[in-house]
Every structure is written in structure tokens, then in C-alpha cells.
Amino acid sequence: GNKDILLETDGDLSNSSAVIQEFDTVMNSDAPAIAGGVLKYALVAESSFQGIFSPVFSEDSYDEELMGFSHESIFSYDEKFQLTQDGMATFVRNENLKTVSITLRDNLKWSDGAALTVDDILYAYEVIGHPDYAGSLYGATFANIVGMTAYHEGTADTIVGIEVLDDTHLTIAFEEWNPSLMQAGGAVWSQPLPRHQLESIAVSEMMNALQLREQPVGTGPFRVKTIVPGESVLFEANEYYWKGKPKLDNILVEVVGAATVVSEMEAGNYDIAIMPASSYERYKDFDNITLLGREELATTYIGFKLGSQDIESGNNNLNLSSKMANAALRQAMAYALDNEFVAAVLFDGLQQPANAMIPPAFEGFSENESMGFSYDPVKAVELLDEAGYLDKDGDGFRETPDGEPLKISFAAVAGGDATETVVAYYIQQWQEIGLDVSLATGRLIEYQKFHDMLASDSPAIDVYQATWKTGMDPNPTEMFGRSSSLNYTRWTNEKNDTLLDQINAEATLDENARMEIYREWQALLFEEVPVIPTFWRTQIFAVNNRVKNFNIRYGATRGWETIELTSEDPIR
Amino acid sequence: MGLLEIKDLKVHYPLKSGFLSSKRNLAAVDGISLSLEEGKNYGLVGESGSGKSTVGRAIVGLERITAGQIIYEGTDVTAAIGKRKSAHKRNVQMIFQDSGASLNPKKQIGQIISEPLHNFEQFSQQEEQKRVLELLEMVGLPEDALRKYPHEFTGGQRQRIALARAVALRPKFVIADEPVSVLDLSVQAQVLNYMKRIQEQYKLSYLFISHDLGVVKQMCDELAIMYRGRFVEYGDRQDIYLNPQHIYTKRLLSAIPNLDPGNRELHKRLRREIESEYKQSMESYLAKDGRVGDLIPLSKTHRIAGKPSKGER
């Protein structure tokens, strides 16, 4: 199998020479399977999931986890996240014409039995590009399609660049040819939208439509049967699934708090869960479960609010007089954090200190030893002293160079793995270098609220901790683009613009050139510090031993439909 | 002109009424007039619920007066009756039925007796102490009672304490609302004796409220018989006990047990007769709405409500 190499310390800090441990990504069993059965999946979360079952509208990572059962991309991809030809659809790229032609297999069906045609792919583009579209997907990638801008601005009724040939053939023309087109989850949208179900709903209403929440129609091996919004979902096998009816009868997903999931897995109450790294010590030796692991395609970081979004133009404006505007201050805050220590002590090495924004699963994108902040409080203090942040009034905290009191509000999402502890520790470390940092709103903030506060540039937040989920395409334009609404730091920079343009340019189709630009871009981040990358995480899956054929490998072509159980009840 | 004049006194209580039904009033006292002179004792007799206590309480200002006047020494005090300190207040005091309830269980006897002194007199500590001891002695209680609590006394003693409190300000008038009805015979006699003695000493008057005709006879010069908030008959002792005119009065008197078991049957027959007469003719003594009529004088002292009895003289 495909083995990921991970670091694990043995808990002894002085001996930080890492012990190398390998996690399996595939779980198998020779025991005979029972027919059907119900698999119980614990969705480990502190808050509830939002429950929008549509890749076009969903913004919630828990929803994404849930859609893994019910929605499948029409393309398959390989370990390097490059699209391949053995999914529901095949494609042909024409570099000269800058087109991609998509061919669907015959007789594909939605989970409600309706025929799945290329028209549904077109429909996805039409909705995303629609002026009333309320989701967050529309951006440079979509604007890159010929005719999309006109359609988006309402001057055209159709997207001229997308041409439906017949029920199974469609061609998309692009303005620019760029590397994301080859990337899974990249520039070629791979999730059709069921026109037959949603057509009657105005695009502006769609995000709130009950159809997407209660009877979502998808292409995946399972479909939603019953749902308690935010709490649990019961999936049933989708008999129209293109690879044939899945082996399991049902999958029951329930939200389980990180605090209890370990005991629940031990007691055999659930079959599968993504475990909190911070209690690895507790569950690593349970013998009724098998642990699988893979690197998560995400980077945890600390972001600084540096400006605001102009609502009219949608452009991000850097505010040079903002509290965090001084790069020295940001650097000092970065050097004050001992993430290596946190990773080792709190996460048993299952999270590694990040020295760049691109996660290591994308090999070659962030291998630069010289980058990254390591714990250096002396340097942090020096930086602050030099920049004029001094404690003049003797209250133990530094003031701004102008002598104003400097109170920094730090915000974080509630419910992550040991977040409370990490956040409290960060604050403590910042206080140690004389910065008056406190928790914005006094407590950790619930997911939705947190994102709304960031999106609306709430003045209550100066610094925040968040996670950047790259998805399968490491392209950072969305996170750092000048006109991206998801650029929560509101950091803009000429050089950054240039580099992002290069990333999105045709020239970078060459892999080595691409890597080079990514490295350069990351070096810029290191200098400017709009964000401090903190951790790369490992996802640990605990799987009850009655589960057969479970596979978490990126690019694996076999999914939930092949999973079987070997006994009626989970093994305790 | 009496010391205390009560004119057409009415006390009505609002009744809790049912949903959507109109508000009704309960006429606990429904127009009575009394003229009380100094040095005389008055009795107020009637069955339970006839409004006797309400009259007493209205006079000392414990009830809201619906209509009528209370005139003290020639001045109308009706409006001022709720006021805390007035000559009327000071000179008209009250003793209550149940000494257990009328003495604050949380206060020492000394405090209880000195309370009115405190409010009305500007006594010094010693003067007050002296007066309290005087009062205690008057009701036959030892000095060490001062520091004790009410529950340390028997019912009779407590009632004497209440008496001491009532007369502490040397009032001209004391309203005694069934002061002995919860007491045993022997104790009752004792309290009544003290009341008499104090009356002689202080020259005060009692308005004696009771349903025990024996006690009233013992204590009072003039008495009123009450029925449904009105007077049915008014007269001196002679008039009421020896020459009752109203059938209600007669019935009341005949119902009193006779201490002569030898004549039991006779007494019983008499009572039966009056009872049947009462059943027949009580109606005719009342106005159409069941209200007792106004008092009509029979003699200088004797008055009876509504229709004079058949043997009108």
C-alpha cells in the first residue's frame, strides 16, 4: 500500500530525533462479510454541521465530509491529484483551442433515478456564474471561462464558452490555459447540479432551498434518507450508483464531540471516526479498532487582519495604519510561538510545525528549510524593541511606537482539537514577550460566527487562527488574491499579485517551474508575514475491525460503495 | 351627646366575584348607630358573622369605613380614623379575642406593653419602665414577666397582658372583642374581674363584644343585639334580659342553656315554642329585601328594629 511517512516523537523532548512511524491507508480483512448492514460514522465536531448538501453551495467542512457519501466527482484523480480518465466522465484537453471536452458515460443516473446528462454540468456553471449566486465559489477560475464574465454581469443569457453537443458531450472553452485545469478540484468544475430538481427555484433562493437539505440528489454511492439538521444523517444505498448498488444498506452519521469520541470508539458505538490527535496516547492501543492515517490537505495558520474589503468593488484594501500593520510586530509574534513544542507535547507529533502554507502532501512545493519561524523569544523581543514597541508605562505590556496602549484581540474557532489549550498557550507566549493579547469575545467562537466575523472584517478581531484547506489544488489565489473575498487577512502586495498571476499562467504548466514560483511566493509570505503557518495535520481514522475494504488513500478509485461489514454489531 | 357617637356606620367588603359576573359587596356592617357615654359599659351580642367584630374594628380605625360617621367628643374623626396618632386613637383602644394572636410572640412582655407608650408619650426610660411595672402590677403579674415572651404565659395571663397594653394610655374607651371566649371558665372569671377593677380605677367604658350572653350580662349596662350587620334590638340589661321584644332576641335568650337540670323539660318546651314562632314570624320582622329595619324606640332605653312585637305597649 501507499504509506505516508510521519514523524512521531516519543514524548521526550530532549530526544527530539523523531521516531518514524507509518500509518496504513488501507484496511482489509479476510473475514466473510455480512449482507448489507448499517455502518456508523462519527462526525467528530463540537458544533453541528450546516447541512447544505450541494458542492455548489456548501461552505462547511463538515458538510464536505458528509457529501463524501452522497456526492461524487465525475472525474477520478491520482495520488498527485491529477485528473484521470476512469471516473464517470472522460475528458480531452485541447491546448491550442484552450478547450476541455467532457464525455459522460452512458446511462448515468442521479440518486433519484433521473438521467444525469452534461446539461447538469452546464447547469452547475450557470448557477455558479449567475448574478444572484450566493455561494462563494465564483472567482477568477470561473471568470476564466469564455463568456462567463458577460453572463455573470447579466449582459449575456448564456455562457458562450460552454457548448453542449448532446446528452453526454460538452466542451468548455477557456480564456487562459493554466495548470489548475489538470488538478483535481481545480479549474474544471466536476460536480454536476441536478437541473431537474432545482430548476424551479430562483438562484438567489437556492442556497436556502430545502431541497438541498432534506432531499439532496447526488451522484455518490449513498443518498440521504433522513436527516436531523446539524445532528445526524441516515444514508441509504443508492441503487442508481454508476458502479452498481453499494454493499452496505445504510450509513448512519452522527455528530460526536471530540471529548467523547475516544470512549465511543472503544465501546464500539461507531465504526469510523476521524480522531483528535491530542488524545492519541489514549486510543493508539485499542484492539477493536485499526488506525489509518494520511496527511490532511490543510494548513493551520495564524492570520493578521491588515485591511478590509471594499464592498463596492470587492477588492481588498491594505490598511497601513491598522494595528497589525507593522511587519516586525507580526514577525515577533511568529517567533514567540513554540509550535514544535506544542506539536510534540499536545499532538504526539501527529501535527507537524508548518514552515509554509502549502501542505507537504503536495511534494516539492514547500521544501525549503530556510523558511518558517522557529521559536526564538529573544529575537521576538529584539524585533519589538527595534520597532519601537516598548513598555513605557510599566504595566508589563508594550505600547505602540506612538505610546498608545496596544491591545490585540485573538480569535479562534471553537471545537477543534485541543484548540482551547493551544490558544491559551499562544496568548500566554505572546504575553511573555510583552504583548497584551486577549481572546476576542472572551471565548472561542462558533464556526459560522467566526467566518462571518472574518468576512465582514469585524473590528473585534485583530489576529485569528484558522485552517486553510487547500483541497486538491494548492493554488492559493483564492486565499491571497487581491479581489478574493476569502482573503480574510485583506493583505495585498504587488509582488504577490505578480506571483499569483504567474501561478495561474500557462507558463507554469511545467512542474518544476511551478514549484519554483510557489517557493518564491512562500518566501514572500515569510517576509511579509500576513499569516504565520503553524501546523500541518495528520488525519487519523479509527476504524472498527468489523469494517472491510476501507481506504483513505488520496486518488483511490474505490470508495464507500465497496465497504462491507463482517459482523452485525461493531466489535467492542 | 355621648363620648363616642357612631352614626349609620357601614362597612362593606368586596366579594371575589366569578368570571363575568358583576361585583358584589358583603355588607358586614350595614348602617348602625350607637351613642356611647363615659363610664358605662356596652355590649354587642349576635351570632357568628353578624358583624360584631367589624363594628369594633371600624371604631378603632382598623377597617375601611364605607359610609357613616364616627364622632369623638363632638368632632368627626371618620376621615382621620386611619391616621396614626390622634386623640381618638389614643383614647379608644382594643382588646382582641385570642391573646395568643394579639401578642407578638417575638416580643417580650415589657416591649409589648410599652409599645403604645412609646408611640404616644414622651416618657423617659425610667418613666416608661415605671409605668409598665405599674400596669403589670395592676393586672396581677409579677415583675419578672417583663423579660418573658408571651408563650411563657397561660391564656388568662396573656389576656391580662393584653388588657394592660390596652389601658396603658389611660384610654376612655376600650373595645373588647370576645376577650374571654377562648378561655376556660375559671380563667375567664379572673380576666373579667380584672377588667371590672380597671374600669373602676380608670373610669373607662367598655364596648363588650361577645356571643356569650352570660358574660355580657355580667359586664354591661346597655346592649345591642346584632343580626346581619344591623341592630335588631337595643336596650339596657333589664330591657333585654327580662323584657326582650324582638323574636330574634327572644330566640337567642331561650337558646342559652339553663343551669337548672330540674326544669330542663320546661325550658326545652319554651325554647321549642319560641323557635317555631321565630320560624314563622322572623320574616315579618324584616324588610322585603331581608334587611333588618331601623330601630324604633319602645321606651326611653329600649329600641327594637322593624315591626314592634305584637304585645306593643
Partner: protein, 337 residues
């Protein structure tokens, strides 16, 4: 029932309550008998043990903190020895009881008819209809106004008089040979009292029951009783036929009581002087002298030697018993020989 045997015979009855680990006699050496068709009045001041005596006869005391000894002979049975189940057959059926406060003695949540019927339920084999019939009969018998209406009402809807009549209806429902009425008229007006007393004597006349009437009102005694027992501090101090007692009271306590009573009937003295007062207070249960005459302390001018060491009942004339010998030398203070 043996000929000449009284209906109910009580011998040397003691009822003691437990208070702080000690037992105190609230009823102390009480003996008397009750004949058929007789009203026996028991008089005495508050706290002298009248109610305790009544409830002892009916067997209502909690065994856990009372101690009862002596004999209560009814139909050759000593009731004290009966177990609960047997006692339940006697209660209500053979002994009816009327209580002092008719409001609290009736269950506020049950209608009058339910409460009257309940007696019949446990002491007769009547059918439902028969019982209903009997209930209305009883209500007519005790002369409540509007018997039918009353039957369906709840106690709080009735007047005090009607309540007490219902109480009597309950007591006489099974036509028991013995009725015990504990101060049945104390909480009522005199006019009502007279009628209730009439009702009781009618019941006696109709059923021939023996009635024990407990009261503290000598007037009531004079009105209705055939025989009287005077109680003081847990003991009977004098028993006599009613006329004897009022004409020739013997025991100093009886005499004092009679003397201290203000009288409504009878002549009007021109100036009704002071009433007679018994000195001192009734001793409380815990302060009772263990030995000697219990009334001695209240007539201190009588020499100690006039009392008996342990006072016994003495028959001084037929049916007239007096406790202790002090009555022989008793004079009121200031009274000439």
C-alpha cells in the same frame, strides 16, 4: 350481653403520651360505665384529658408513642387488646364518634354523601343503591336543610351547623349503641348548639344508644346529660346524676367551677359583683404531681391533712362518687361554716 351489665365499662384506664423519652398520663385512672339510653357528660377544663379519653375508647391513638392500660369492656371484650382489624369492625359500627370542629373533621375533597356512605361501606352488605338510600335517610334524620342538595356538596359549601349535622349522620349511620361526641357544639352559636343538643337527645331516644358527651360547658351538661363525670387533670373527680351534681356538688373543683360561672339566665343582681376565681393554674401534663390530691394546690387554705395520700373515689350517696376526702372539709375562702 349479660343482664345488668353496663353497655360500656371503663376500668382504671390510663393513657400516657411519650414526650422526650418519658411517658405522661393524660388520662389517669379513669373508671366509669355507660348504660344504654344514657347521656353521660364528661366536663372539665381545657387540657384535662377529655379528648384523650374519647380517642382512647375509639382506639385512635398511635401505638408508637402512647401507652394504654386498663380495661374498656364492651360486650365482654376488652377493646384495648383488640387488633386493628377487629377494632375496625367496632369503630363506626358499634361506636360512633362526633368531633369538635366539623370543618376539619370532614375530608375537604369528598362529598357529603361519599363520606357518610363510607361508614356503610365497611359495616354493611348494602348495595350501592341501598347505601345511597340510607345516606339520604340519614341526612333527613339529622335534619339538614335540603338533604338531597347537601349530599352532593363538599364540606366547605356547608354552614357550620349543617357540617355538624353531617358529622352526626356519620356517627349514627350504623346505628351504633355507643356514640361519643367530643365537644360537638363548642364551635357553634348558642342557637345552633341548642338544636344540635336536641338532635343528640333525639338520636338517643330513637336508637337507645348510650352517648358520651364531652364538653366544658356546664350549661350544656345541665341541658342534656343524665349523668356527669367531672374531670380534672386527667382524673375523674366527681360523678353524679345531673341533678345531684347541680344541687349538691361535692368536690371542691366542681363547686368552684359552678361558682365562677357568669349566668345569663336567672335573676339580675343589681350590681353583679366579682366572679369567683380559682387560684393558680391548671398544671401541665409534665408538671402534674405524682402523688396526692391534684387539686390541693389550688385550694391552699385547706389543710394538707384533709386530702388523701392517694385519692380514691368515694361513693357518698347512690351513684354519687367523689375523689379524695377534701370535699368534707372544703369551704370557700371567707365562707362561713
Amino acid at each position: 350481653m349479660g343482664l345488668g351489665r353496663p353497655l360500656l365499662e371503663i376500668n382504671a384506664l390510663h393513657t400516657a403520651f411519650r414526650m422526650q423519652e418519658n411517658y405522661y398520663d393524660a388520662v389517669d385512672d379513669v373508671s366509669f360505665s355507660l348504660e344504654k339510653n344514657e347521656i353521660l357528660a364528661i366536663v372539665g377544663e381545657s387540657g384535662c384529658g377529655k379528648s384523650t379519653l374519647a380517642t382512647t375508647i375509639v382506639g385512635l391513638h398511635n401505638k408508637a408513642n402512647t401507652r394504654i392500660s386498663g380495661e374498656i369492656i364492651y360486650q365482654n371484650l376488652n377493646l384495648i387488646d383488640l387488633n386493628e382489624a377487629l377494632y375496625n369492625r367496632i369503630r363506626g359500627n358499634d361506636i360512633g364518634m362526633v368531633f369538635q370542629d366539623p370543618l376539619s373533621a370532614l375530608n375537604p375533597l369528598m362529598t357529603v354523601s361519599e363520606q357518610v356512605e363510607e361508614v356503610l361501606l365497611y359495616h354493611s352488605r348494602m348495595t350501592k343503591e341501598e347505601r345511597a338510600l340510607r345516606v339520604s335517610e340519614l341526612l333527613v334524620q339529622v335534619k339538614v336543610e335540603d338533604p338531597e342538595g347537601t349530599a352532593t356538596r363538599y364540606p366547605h359549601e356547608l354552614s357550620g351547623e349543617a357540617r355538624q349535622r353531617v358529622g352526626i349522620a356519620i356517627a349514627v349511620a350504623c346505628a351504633p349503641p355507643i356514640i361519643i361526641a367530643d365537644e360537638p357544639t363548642t364551635s357553634l352559636d348558642v342557637t345552633v348548639q341548642a338544636q344540635i343538643l336536641d338532635l343528640l337527645s333525639e338520636v338517643r331516644d330513637d336508637t337507645g344508644a348510650g352517648i358520651i358527651l364531652i364538653t366544658h360547658d356546664l350549661g350544656v351538661v345541665a341541658e342534656i346529660a343524665d349523668r356527669v363525670a367531672v374531670m380534672y387533670a386527667g382524673q375523674i373527680v366527681e360523678t353524679a346524676a345531673v341533678v345531684d351534681l347541680f344541687t349538691e356538688p361535692k368536690h371542691p373543683y366542681t363547686r368552684s367551677l359552678l361558682r365562677s360561672m357568669p349566668q345569663a339566665s336567672g335573676a339580675l343582681e343589681s350590681d353583679s359583683g366579682e366572679l369567683y376565681v380559682i387560684q393558680g393554674d391548671v398544671p401541665s401534663l409534665q408538671q402534674l404531681p405524682k402523688q396526692g390530691c391534684r387539686f390541693a394546690g389550688r385550694i391552699p387554705w385547706i389543710p394538707f391533712s384533709a386530702h388523701e395520700q392517694s385519692p380514691k373515689m368515694h361513693e357518698i350517696s347512690k351513684g354519687h362518687f367523689v375523689r379524695c376526702t377534701c370535699h368534707e372539709s372544703f369551704r370557700f375562702e371567707g365562707e362561713s361554716e
